[in-house]
Symmetry: C2
Subunit: 367 residues, 2 copies
DNA sequence: CTGAAAGCGCTAACAT
DNA sequence: ATGTTAGCGCTTTCAG
């Protein structure tokens, strides 16, 4: 029977943790001295500091975070919630983008000293009001999202991956949608596309409006017809149906049916790349032979699809980094700098958008 | 200029939050009374209780969770980390199962009064030792996972979705693998399959061993050849390659090549259903015509694939529910009941495993 | 250079 | 029935 609680031993009452006083007593020092030694503060003789540290280590001392937080006045705890969607929330289990943003936010914030509490999507502030969060990250909020309003009313700083401009207390990171769309369209054109179709959600977010605007401008500048198909919701179903509509070459749009057949697709809505590919195949397109395909997606299946699908990555890790950077600045320095920041996207070119059967390459080395 | 901080107003120093004393003073009562009133404890006259509540509400009082936690001695904070994998951790952004387990754990624990801190996959205990977590949920640990060892050494209770038997302080929930496999195989046989192949990871977890064992027993009882193909890693790539091997009807396995052609596939390894379907198609199989397909998966794309793919769900929500149930019992009552519990799976039958073109149905009503 | 003491905001004994 | 008081474990002036 070692001291590590034996198999069926006594219920091992959460044995009293060793506190700062315990270490102090053991080392023959005062709480103050040990605290200073451990935190590297104050002016202590190297010997004393070392003695304190050694004793603490030996006794397996672990500071009580709660006491620290109380003392500090801030909990160093932030919340993370997925914004509310019109109807069913498109939660992160269904979205590789959100999943990666979630993981990256947790990792980044922890590195900066903040623990991230994951909050159920679509839950309301009242359900976790008693957590004393220093700030809340709201992923993918809709315009005038009730969660955001709620938080701001409670004077809790909000950080979001979508533009929420003009609200004091709300900070945001967003992607440079214009550059992203131009980059993707330029690439498709370079590969020979002349009748690209844009598939984009019918939403009012800054991101989607900007995608739409950039596309319009790009087409106008090249005297190309502006072909857009709107997605009427979120999730694989709606996107796939929109893709089907885009590829069906609706004669209502353009009577010269044959001429109307698209030769490239830029899907700016999250959907499983293999499913999009399947849709194209069902409608008689061969990718990349008849149709070049680029999807905005973080889904790893893009690489394994046949052919591998070119993706436009929103770089959730970069968004998290930028967002948490702002959060820390605001929380710790009350920073009144810019309330928003834009991060660039990345195009990962794969076979689905390359006319000649070239080897896969990427516009940037993997991070 | 309303009181809600004006546009470019002063830096609004985190204005002093209203405390319990403030409410007490305002209501002409003592801290104790207000505290009791708000918490529903003690014996107070209804009028006083109401007065305290009303004053608190009016002043926008929100209790300081940190102070409560300190007082209570427990933080009501639990950690959630994805276990360490042999090489690259198969993190939840890439696994619908883990994504849903993560979300469900967060939601369930919050409902039970515990905030869930999301910890970076593969991170070590030392990186978040100073969070004072009451317990940690380790998702998908490997055998003798260093994270689990680490936690147990620090005397932090561990809850896992994989069997970690025989370790004091470690509790687990696992799925009833045997029943799951038998159910799926029975279904395939009912649909006419006579040469099913099992695709399963080459791992030592209780779950996979049990899958293997159940399959072997099932085959023996029916005098069917035991056909198994091992997956050599995790992620879509390895699984798809294993599927290809399974379907290639390796003559080394069985010289009677034609006879050897499998007529059903049970994939007990997480991969994108559309990708598995693509693999079958590439090898000249038509699903469900030539090949019945069942995948263990939580991926929503299964429903949208063509044909929709039958899945065996591990029911992450049920696992989370059971796990958090144990966690609360252990933390709050020091429960020394069973250290592990098994939850049943669910087979969602779709077109990919139905010989005759029947309408989709499910073995159980959706939860 | 080190120690004693105050107090973060709350709750639960213990008076009154 | 309500108020007074003593801490939870830590950091931090402020004396010594």
């Amino acid at each position: 029977m070692t001291e590590a609680s034996p198999q069926g031993g006594q219920p091992s009452p959460p044995l009293p943790r060793v506190r700062l006083v315990d270490v102090a007593r053991e080392a023959g020092l005062s709480k103050t001295t040990v605290s200073a030694a451990l935190n590297g503060t104050g002016r202590l003789s190297p010997e004393v500091r070392e003695r304190a540290r050694e004793t603490a280590r030996r006794m397996g001392y672990r500071p009580n975070a709660t006491a620290r937080r109380l003392r500090a006045g801030r909990a160093r705890l932030i919340g993370y919630v997925v914004g509310e969607f019109a109807d069913a929330p498109w939660t992160f289990p269904e979205s590789p983008y959100l999943a990666r943003l979630t993981a990256a936010t947790a990792a980044t914030s922890l590195r900066r000293g903040y623990a991230m509490v994951l909050l159920p999507a679509g839950s309301l502030q009242s359900e976790w009001a008693d957590l004393s969060l220093d700030a809340v990250v709201v992923a993918d909020p809709v315009a005038d999202d009730p969660i955001v309003e709620d938080l701001l009313a409670a004077r809790i700083p909000v950080f979001s991956d979508r533009s929420v401009e003009g609200r004091p207390g709300a900070y945001w990171v967003d992607v440079d949608a214009g550059a992203a769309v131009r980059g993707a369209l330029d690439h498709l054109r370079d590969q020979g596309a002349r009748r690209p179709v844009l598939v984009v959600p019918d939403s009012t977010t800054r991101f989607h409006s900007e995608v739409y605007a950039a596309h319009r401008t790009w087409c106008a500048a090249r005297d190309l017809p502006e072909r857009v198909v709107r997605v009427d919701g979120s999730g694989n179903g709606p996107v796939v149906r929109a893709v089907e509509r885009a590829l069906a070459a609706d004669p209502a749009d353009d009577p010269a049916a044959d001429q109307a057949r698209p030769d490239a697709l830029l899907v700016v809505a999250e959907a499983s790349p293999p499913l999009v590919l399947d849709a194209a195949r069902r409608l008689g397109y061969e990718v990349p032979g008849d149709l070049l395909l680029v999807c905005v997606s973080e889904d790893v299946t893009a690489e394994h699809a046949d052919p591998p699908v070119t993706t436009l990555s929103l770089r959730p890790e970069a968004i998290a980094e930028a967002g948490i950077g702002m959060l820390v600045a605001v929380l710790e320095d009350g920073d009144q700098g810019a309330a928003g920041v834009l991060v660039p996207t990345r195009l990962d070119v794969r076979a689905s958008s390359v006319r000649s059967a070239q080897p896969e390459y990427t516009s940037r080395p993997p991070t």
